[in-house]
Symmetry: C2
Subunit: 298 residues, 2 copies
């Protein structure tokens, strides 16, 4: 078999970004990262967008396999890859193949996961989880994927047992940009000690949250302590709310954080003394490993 | 004294709306209501805007007194009417008079109230409270003014003793319009029984709030119960958070609700069994009475 056939393309196609890797065996031969997120694709031109982004890696002699996951497989995406029901194992994740006009590649879009008892969904995170489980098949504990929609996921015997989503990142963004706090949280720095204090405050007195947000604005009007303080506190209040609601996932547990470097560092700083053990991984590494894992199981 | 001199103009000039009344003794001779809120006034053209709106009521023979309150007196408004410090009495509320070119009227803009120990501010609500106290000078209990920034205010001996603001209305708006829930809360109806259930849920388990918002979206994706349900629950979760944080203001207390008709009716529905007594007033009536009250004390 010609070596060329071992090449394949891994695609992480989320709501607001696109990332692809050309892979041969375990080597990354090339990669591309753009802002062509699912939501920016006009007139449902998904194939056209994908071809333009992967063009340098396509040729007419050898059909190449493209494996994708993320929001591209949602109802608003290219084609809906039906959710798989949790509890579930990631070793037999399903996929869907949209019809493709270009005959230089085939495409499989992997499913997201759905939980029906306490309604929840994920799409893209399951791939990162599969990436972590690729090297750690016997992990028992919780995986946290902080971000726009933070997920806490309980793992046992390679299964997703239970999970919960928190709109922490999205609330932080819309409150910062669209509420009266816009004037008070202009800084893009975070002071970790202030953030931690705010987390602890909500953790001890969750009833304070309702008033806490407006108090930031009022404190700024009265005392002008600077927007780093208010931004750090806002982050802390929202993170406090998440940690309060995810207690069963981390208290005295082994936990794994998968996300971007800044975010997982903050979560580690807040959680390291409260949990049994903590390990950090970058989401872009885990997506790639996850797609490799899915490919191996095909 | 010519009767004409008893005429004056009451102005409620908020962030997003403008309301004015021409008053003689206790009669309203005319009123105007527009969307010329403080934030829509271009290039600081406050005098020009005011003159154009009041033009029919102005004449060169008699200078008329205009009394205003609301966000027009904020830093972002016409001129900053410095806050008065709570605890405070509304019988000696201060005002500021911007310099006016037009000699057909004079203008007084009343101060807002500031609380420094638990940082909070109000601007406009103090006028509504003064309106209620005009007829109820001996009220002892709490006044709630639901809205974009809901206020809970403790009243004793005609004084504002203590107050707390909750961004309930603003959070409801930005979550409905700017988050992933946009797809699930399109209805503009509320089902009160669902709202009440959601209030009770947060009240019993505040730690649920973090996950509750995303759960609405997931439930819609999985079970499609209709956006009336999700909108009602979103309202309920946010109101639950407010009631949790304002417990000291209403539990076993006499309370007064001042707001728009729909909103105070919802608050009454949720609170009537939990409080000692409850009375409802429309904010537009209370603003007018409040300005009359301020005028009498000048």
């Amino acid at each position: 078999m010609e070596k060329f056939f071992d090449k394949w393309i891994a695609v992480d196609w989320g709501t607001s970004s696109f990332r692809a890797y050309l892979i041969e065996n375990n080597d990354i031969l090339g990669d591309v990262e753009t802002n062509d997120g699912m939501k920016f694709v006009q007139n449902h031109n998904f194939e056209k967008t994908l071809v333009s982004l992967l063009e340098p890696w396509l040729d007419h002699k050898h059909k190449i396999e493209v494996l994708a996951s993320g929001m591209v497989g949602s109802k608003q995406g290219w084609i809906e890859a039906p959710y798989q029901k949790a509890p579930c194992n990631l070793n037999n994740i399903e996929f869907i193949s949209p019809s493709i006009k270009d005959n230089r590649f085939s495409l499989k879009i992997f499913s997201g996961i759905l939980q029906s008892n306490k309604p929840d969904v994920m799409r893209g995170e399951e791939t990162q989880i599969a990436g972590f489980l690729y090297d750690n098949p016997n992990f028992r504990g919780s995986i946290c994927l902080p971000g726009t929609h933070s997920k806490w996921v309980q793992i046992e015997n390679g299964n997703i047992v239970n999970f919960k989503t928190f709109m922490t990142g999205e609330l932080f963004e819309i409150i910062s940009k669209n509420s009266v706090l816009i004037h008070s949280v202009t800084s893009n720095k975070i002071k970790k000690i202030e953030l931690k204090r705010a987390v602890d405050e909500i953790f001890k007195n969750p009833e304070f949250f309702g008033n806490a947000l407006f108090q930031l604005r009022a404190d700024d009007l009265i005392n002008s302590k600077g927007s780093v303080i208010y931004k750090s506190k806002l982050s802390g209040y929202l993170l406090g709310l998440e940690l309060l609601g995810s207690l069963e996932f981390w208290e005295k547990k082994d936990i794994v954080l998968i996300g971007n470097a800044d975010l997982i560092e903050i979560y580690e700083y807040i959680l390291h003394k409260k949990v049994n053990s903590i390990k950090l991984f970058l989401s872009k590494d885990m997506v790639l490993k996850g797609l490799k894992n899915f490919k191996n199981k095909l």
